[in-house]
Symmetry: C2
Subunit: 215 residues, 2 copies
C-alpha cells in the first residue's frame, strides 16, 4: 500500500508563497527565498538537469523526499493554469507546464482541474493526467499508477490543504526557512491537524522537520 | 554586555495563543496545547514550585532558556492587566500578577504599560517594575539590572514583535508544537526578520529551534 506524502518549504510565519503570485512570479514576492536552500543542493540541481551544487544535509533531504515516488498529484496552479487563467479558463493546449519537455517527475502526474484535457506524455517518463472529479479520485488513480511506491502531493499549498483536511496525507516534511514573508499563501488553511514530529535536520539555511499525521 | 533573548511556543500555523483570549483563558482557545511539552518537564515544574515531571530533552531546553537570566521584560498583557482591562484601564493595585506571591522569575521584571505604578516586591527575588516610557527605556533599565546576565523578553507575542521589529533581540528559541490553531495571536506581525538557525532538538511533543537574529 502506497504511503501519501508531501513536503513544502514554509516561512517562520507560516507562508508557502509570498503575496501577489502571478505568471511572472509564481512564488509571489519574496517567495523564491523559501527555496534558496534547495537550489543550492546537488540533488535538486541533478533532478532539474543542472550540474553542480553542494552535497550537504540539505541535499540529502532533497533527495530523500523525492526518492521512491511512483506518482504525483498537483493542483492546476502548480501546473501553471492557475497563474495563466486566474478565473479558471479552458485549457490552452499549447501550455505544457513550467518544466520544458522533460519535467523532473519521471512518473505519472495527476493534475487537479475543472477542465477536461487528454493526457500529456512528456519526455523522460512524465505523463500529465488531468483529473476533473476531485481529490479522492485523483488519489485512487495515483494509487493504481504508483503500484505500491510513494504518492507525493506536490503542491501548491491549497492542494496540500485539501488533502490534509480530508485526512489523506500520512507523512509531511516541512522545510522551515528562517525568514518571514508577512503575507501570502498559507499552509493548513485553518484545518485542525494533529501531527507528531519524527525527524529533524538542520543547516544554517533551513530546518527540516518530518511529521507523521495523526488520524 | 547582556544578550537579549526570547523563547516562545508556537503552532505550525504561526500562532502563539489561540483565539478569544480572556482573563479566564489567557492562552486563548486551544492555546494550552502549545505548552503541553513544557508542563510535563521536571525543570518547568521545579521553576513553578511543583514536584515531579520528566527529565527529558524538553526539560533540558526548558532549563536552558531560563538559566542565567538577570532581568525580564514583559507586556502588560502577560502580567495580566491586558486581560483584566482590555481597553487599557488604570491599575487595580490588588492585582499582583498570575503567579502568586512567589513568581517563578527570581529577578527584576520590567512590565511595559501606559499607566504608572510603583515597584512591586514579591517573594523569592522577583520585583515587578512598571515602565511607561517605551521598549527602549525598558531595555536600558533591564541592562542595568541584569549586570551582564541574559535579558529575556518573556512575552507575549505583541511585545516580542515590538522588540523584533526594532532589531533589539539577539537570540530566539521557538518551541514549534505539532498542532494547528487556525487563528489567534501571531508572532512576527509582518516584520521582515532574517534569522539563522543554530540549534535544533526534537522530541515527539515539540521541535525546538534556536535562531540567531541577523541584523
Amino acid at each position: 500500500m502506497s504511503i501519501v506524502t508531501s513536503h513544502l518549504s514554509i516561512s517562520l510565519d507560516g507562508y508557502t508563497a509570498g503575496p501577489n503570485q502571478s505568471l511572472q512570479n509564481p512564488l509571489g514576492e519574496g517567495g523564491e527565498r523559501l527555496h534558496e536552500w534547495a537550489v543550492k543542493t546537488a540533488s535538486w540541481r541533478a533532478m532539474h538537469g543542472e550540474s553542480g551544487g553542494e552535497a550537504s544535509p540539505d541535499s540529502d533531504v532533497a533527495a530523500e523526499v523525492s526518492s521512491g515516488v511512483g506518482a504525483y498529484i498537483m493542483g492546476r496552479g502548480m501546473f501553471g493554469n492557475g497563474a495563466r487563467y486566474p478565473g479558471g479558463g479552458e485549457w490552452d493546449e499549447s501550455w505544457r507546464g513550467w518544466w520544458g519537455e522533460e519535467p523532473p517527475y519521471h512518473a505519472p502526474v495527476f493534475v487537479l482541474t475543472h477542465h477536461p484535457r487528454g493526457p500529456l506524455t512528456m519526455q523522460g517518463g512524465t505523463t500529465f493526467n488531468f483529473v476533473t472529479d476531485g481529490i479522492e479520485s485523483a488519489l485512487t488513480q495515483a494509487r493504481a499508477a504508483a503500484n505500491g511506491q510513494t504518492i507525493l502531493i506536490a503542491g501548491g499549498a491549497a492542494t496540500v490543504n485539501q488533502y490534509l483536511a480530508a485526512g489523506l496525507i500520512d507523512d509531511l516534511w516541512l522545510h522551515i526557512a528562517p525568514i518571514t514573508l508577512g503575507s501570502g499563501e498559507r499552509l493548513f488553511g485553518g484545518a485542525d491537524v494533529r501531527l507528531e514530529p519524527v525527524d529533524c535536520r538542520q543547516t544554517d539555511l533551513v530546518t527540516h522537520v518530518r511529521y507523521r499525521i495523526l488520524k
